[in-house]
């Protein structure tokens, strides 16, 4: 509750701040301060279970340790994102504080998507998440790619909204209660009524679109590639995992009872996503685009959680989200600083910027899922959940094979940074042209902290998952 209200309010504050703030840098600090406060508020609620505002929402929202922990993760990732890339947000365009406002609204949407209890709130949450993003994607107005991206994103997003609404309508019609509450959509263990089934497929498709799962992922590479890199980073991490929390909560509460009847579909989607994401990423030359595909691939792994849909899966999803966000945000933060977004652009980075290279390596290892990084714990929990479920072992096998493929393209960057000689042109004064620019000590420090976080989570995932044991999880 705290998070929802405060994010909305702070969004408005930032919005009006745009009028008063003189310096371009000010909004960043306000945003960071506000977000920090919100995180604290949320953590308090997580521990006590007592929100500051006792609002009667007519059971349209539900708060439990899982939701709140998840919100904490997203907010914390956003804070990290602000800290690492705040300066780059300022570079995107003139109306900085508006950008921050939009980001806060997105966060509000994520919080709704994490706590919704009726399809209405789900719908609103998803929309609140999406609409600001259409705009953020297009903020680089001079850049045609940015325009195109935002247009495509908008049109296809609207299309998926239509699909989702169709699904909601069918579900409403199908269930005897005529209720939008997710808990009484499917009541019995037995076979779903056809209308419910149709509605479920529609919604599944819409959600798959939001989390960019194949074959509904096509917008992802173009949009991620076209959008300003800072916002790509935000979209690829916080928004995506927001979509996932919505996805898993919806399907756990609404269709959990008839898990067996739709598991196959998710298995297929997951397999397709893993395959397309990993295989296509192999060929990419631009790191930005490669990371877009990798985010698809990672989504494929997260889908395993929805496939398994058990406690391990939920813990795993939280871990995975945290690991994935940390690593990806870090990588994007480094990528933004680079002059050349192609893999060759990273050649010899280890010599020029050892800190960047080493931390980037840790992020990449985490994405690959090498032990001692959080990424491993995430994958490990996912595999465990899927195996625990006991059906479709082929999917697990397929997943690890794809993970092996993912090593292929992640390590290409590592090779470029450490083992390839930099092909930088020598400038007139004889100095080697820098591969990356304005690397402040603070930035390095933050990167190191992020890397340490990843490693700590990799060794002691319990630091995160223990939050689940507050309240009556």
């Amino acid at each position: 509750m705290n998070a929802i209200i405060l994010t909305a309010v702070w969004g408005i504050v930032m919005m009006f701040g745009g009028v008063f703030f003189k310096s371009k840098a000010t909004p960043k600090y306000w945003a960071i301060a506000g977000l920090a406060a919100i995180i604290i508020a949320n953590c308090l609620e997580l521990q006590t279970g007592e929100p500051f505002f006792a609002l009667d929402v007519k059971y349209m929202l539900s708060f439990n340790s899982f939701n709140l922990t998840f919100i904490t993760v997203t907010l914390a990732s956003t804070l990290l994102f602000f800290l690492l890339s705040g300066r780059d947000i300022e570079k995107v365009g003139a109306n900085v504080s508006e950008y921050f406002a939009l980001i806060f609204f997105v966060l509000c949407g994520v919080c709704l998507a994490a706590t919704f209890n009726t399809l209405l709130i789900l719908f609103l949450g998803i929309e609140i998440m999406s609409i600001p993003l259409y705009i953020l994607t297009g903020t680089d107005k001079r850049n045609l790619k940015s325009n195109e991206a935002s247009l495509k994103y908008f049109l296809m997003g609207a299309f998926s909204t239509g699909i989702m609404l169709m699904g909601i309508a069918f579900i409403y019609g199908g269930n005897s209660e005529g209720s939008f509450f997710i808990n009484n959509i499917v009541l019995g263990e037995g076979k779903m009524p056809v209308m419910i089934a149709i509605g479920m497929v529609f919604i599944m498709i819409a959600m798959s679109f939001k989390v960019s799962a194949a074959p509904f992922h096509f917008w992802t590479p173009d949009v991620y590639d076209g959008a300003p890199t800072v916002f790509t980073s935000f979209m690829a991490t916080i928004v995506k995992i927001g979509g996932f929390i919505a996805f898993i909560r919806l399907f756990e509460n609404s269709f959990g009872k008839v898990h067996g009847q739709w598991q196959m579909l998710i298995a297929i989607i997951a397999a397709a996503t893993l395959f397309i994401g990993n295989v296509t990423a192999v060929f990419q030359q631009s790191v930005k685009r490669m990371l877009a595909y990798s985010s698809i691939a990672q989504a494929g792994f997260m889908l395993l959680a929805i496939f398994a849909l058990n406690d391990t899966a939920k813990e795993g999803l939280i871990l995975y989200s945290a690991a994935y966000s940390l690593a990806t945000i870090g990588l994007f933060a480094i990528l933004i600083k680079m002059h050349d977004y192609t893999i060759e652009g990273f050649n010899g980075l280890a010599k020029q910027q050892p800190v960047l290279a080493v931390t980037a390596t840790i992020f990449l290892l985490s994405l690959t899922g090498i032990p001692l990084t959080a990424g491993f714990q995430g994958k490990f929990f996912m595999l465990m959940a899927a195996l625990k479920d006991g059906h479709q072992h082929w999917l697990v096998l397929f997943a690890v094979l794809c993970a092996a493929v993912s090593a292929y393209y992640y390590f290409k960057i590592i090779q470029a940074m450490f083992f390839k000689e930099g092909s930088q042109q020598i400038k007139a004064d004889g100095s080697v042209a820098a591969l990356a620019e304005d690397i402040t000590p603070a930035f390095k420090l933050l990167l190191i902290i992020t890397a340490l976080l990843i490693i700590i989570l990799g060794i002691f995932p319990s630091f995160l998952t223990e939050w689940l044991h507050y309240l009556n999880g």
Partner: protein, 637 residues
């Protein structure tokens, strides 16, 4: 008697010490010091061996346990030495002949510079050490240690002059062919282990003796013995693994004398004699051994007829003599075989050393066609050499006569055909030996002038061993005088009786009537004498002529083309197979598959990327198709 047992460990240990001293001190020790140490240790070992010999004369067997080489739940191998009549006899031969050859070497190798000289003696000592392990071991594993050890030393010594790659190849060939044999030996040992769970001689033999206790089937025994025999063919240069021995002549002549005539090559005979009981239980194997042995004898003898390299002739004669010994083993005349080992050690060592003395005098020349008339230059060598020839040709009362005769008698008892072939071989032996003698010592000198200028009798260090060995070659046979001449004259048989007791019990021993024996001896001696004289007057006036061998002679001169045969049916196919694996299977098939996966992924990546056309219409279309698929699966499947 046990007090001797307490010091038998010294026998192999002293040569080891010698090896270490000479090996480590090769940079500081003077040649004299090296020689003294090298020969001295062997001498002491020899003296101890003499004591040992008399201690076991009473017929008792001593086993000394030192430490557990391997001691686990599944395998117990003690580092044990066993002293009995057989081993003590071999001890005497090895250390005795060994000592003489060491002494000989001190002079023969004197041109070598000090460090190589030391290296040479180190190797020689190491060889003696391994050989002693071989014969003293109380189980097959210790024997195997020595077995491979001598192989190693022969490798090192053949390749002693490692600058010359032909020598290296010869050394390699020797080692590899031995390895083939060793594999057979090993497999046999595994078989024994598998069936009996032990490799200690006394246990094995005890178990083998009563098969119902050890559940050894006839198949097992035959298999084991055949494998052991494979091992023997490797070490003792029998068909099919004999070709390394002639090449091994690349080594220094004393080495040929010690390793490739007197001791190492007889390891096979020792091993079979040692496990005689096994072989007696396996008549099939015995048949095989007899035939192989005889075949080898004939083959080698025929080849020796046409060789002109003095050492090559001796080498082939060695092979042929070894064949004899195996014939003896095959027909169950174990004593005869061992007897022949002993006498052969004497006269063949003598002949090699004599040849060495000749080569030394000729300044490294080994081709007999360039020799001749040496008798007036080097008398001692000449005399001793002649005695050696007579001995090997089997002239009574020289040692060769008695041992060879015993084997032939055994062969006749088994099967007259064996005897006939054996005797023919004996004739050939007489022929080529005297061809050798005549071409070398009689007639007039055919070498160059400065060679003639340098001709001289060798120094004492060389002649002294010759004399000793000559004496032994003459009288060595008298410890085995057959019954027909003197009742109880065969002291050796009595001496070795405990070793072969069990076999003699099992194997039916049919005595030949004395009349038959006389006839057989008469025939062999007479025949040998005739061929001998024929060879003498054919070659004593030998003139160098450039006529090339033709027809069958050519085949013989080229050693029946056996090397070429092996090369084309084994070596080359193996190499091309390896090439095939290396270039095709490894690179294209296995690695090709691995890389193929990577390529496939890359290719797929490039193809799937095309879906990302950038056309919203296409995207939506694909999404709709996806929807359709999901709907159909969910609703209709």
């Amino acid at each position: 008697m046990t007090n001797i047992v307490q010091i038998i460990w010294l026998i192999p240990f002293l040569p080891l010490i010698g090896f270490l001293i000479n090996g480590l001190g090769r940079n500081f020790l003077s040649k004299t010091a090296t020689g003294v140490i090298g020969s001295g240790v062997i001498l002491i070992s020899f003296l101890i061996s003499v004591l040992v010999f008399f201690s076991v004369k009473g017929g008792n067997t001593e086993v000394a346990h030192y430490f557990n080489f391997i001691n686990t739940g599944s395998l117990k191998v003690g580092f044990d030495f066993q002293i009995d009549q057989l081993s003590s006899l071999f001890l005497l031969i090895i250390t005795g002949v060994g000592f003489l050859i060491h002494v000989y070497s001190t002079s023969y190798m004197h041109e070598e510079e000090a460090k190589d000289f030391a290296k040479y003696f180190a190797y020689l000592n190491l060889f003696v050490f391994s050989m002693l392990l071989l014969v003293m071991g109380a189980n097959y594993i210790i024997m195997f240690i020595g077995w491979e050890g001598v192989g190693l030393c022969s490798y090192l010594l053949i390749g002693y002059w490692f600058k010359n790659n032909d020598y290296n190849n010869a050394a390699k060939k020797a080692f590899i062919m031995n390895r083939i044999g060793d594999l057979g030996f090993l497999l046999a040992v595994f078989w024994l282990l598998n069936k009996l769970g032990t490799t200690d001689y006394h246990q094995v033999f005890a178990l083998v003796a009563d098969t119902q206790k050890s559940q050894l089937t006839a198949f097992d025994i035959t298999g084991i013995t055949l494998l052991l025999f494979v091992g023997a063919t490797g070490k003792s240069a029998q068909i099919p693994l004999y070709t390394w021995l002639p090449d091994a002549m690349a080594g220094p002549t004393p080495v040929s004398a010690l390793i490739h005539a007197a001791t190492m090559v007889t390891a096979g005979i020792y091993m079979i004699a040692r496990s005689n009981i096994l072989f007696t239980m396996a008549p099939t194997t015995q048949g095989v051994i007899a035939v192989i042995g005889l075949a080898t004898a004939v083959l080698a003898a025929t080849i020796a007829l046409k060789q002109n390299d003095i050492k090559k002739v001796l080498a082939y004669s060695t092979v042929s003599q070894l064949g004899y010994m195996f014939l003896g083993l095959g027909v169950g005349a174990y004593t005869g075989a061992v007897f022949h080992v002993m006498t052969h050690a004497f006269f063949k060592a003598l002949l090699f050393l004599g040849a060495g003395s000749v080569i030394h005098a000729m300044g490294g020349e080994q081709d007999m066609r360039n020799m001749g008339g040496l008798k007036k230059y080097m008398s001692i060598t000449h005399i001793t050499f002649l005695l050696g020839c007579l001995a090997i040709a089997g002239m009574p009362p020289f040692s060769g006569f008695f041992s060879k005769d015993e084997i032939l008698a055994g062969a006749f008892a088994k099967n007259p055909v064996l005897w006939v072939v054996g005797v023919l071989t004996a004739f050939m032996t007489a022929f080529y030996m005297f061809r050798l003698y005549a071409m070398t010592f009689s007639g007039k000198f055919r070498g160059t002038h400065d060679q003639e200028h340098h001709l001289h009798e060798s120094p004492a260090a060389i002649t002294f061993p010759l004399i000793i060995l000559a004496i032994l070659a003459v009288i060595g046979g008298w410890i085995g005088i057959p019954e027909v001449f003197m009742h109880g004259g065969h002291r050796l048989e009595a001496f070795l009786e405990p070793i072969f007791a069990q076999s003699n019990v099992i194997a039916e021993k049919h005595e030949l009537p004395h009349s038959t024996e006389y006839i057989l001896m008469a025939i062999s001696v007479a025949g040998a004498l005739l061929t001998l004289l024929y060879a003498w007057n054919k070659f004593s006036k030998y003139e160098k002529s450039e006529e090339v061998e033709t027809g069958f002679g050519k085949v013989l001169a080229n050693k029946w083309y056996v090397d070429e045969l092996y090369d084309s049916i084994i070596v080359r196919p193996l190499r091309s197979l390896a090439a095939f694996f290396n270039n095709v299977v490894e690179k294209n098939i296995i690695d090709g598959f691995v890389n193929g996966v990577g390529k496939a992924v890359n290719y797929g990546s490039r193809q799937i990327r095309l879906l990302q056309s950038g056309q919203v219409g296409t995207y939506v279309l694909l999404m709709v198709f996806g929807m359709l698929v999901l709907f159909i699966i969910q609703l209709f499947l």
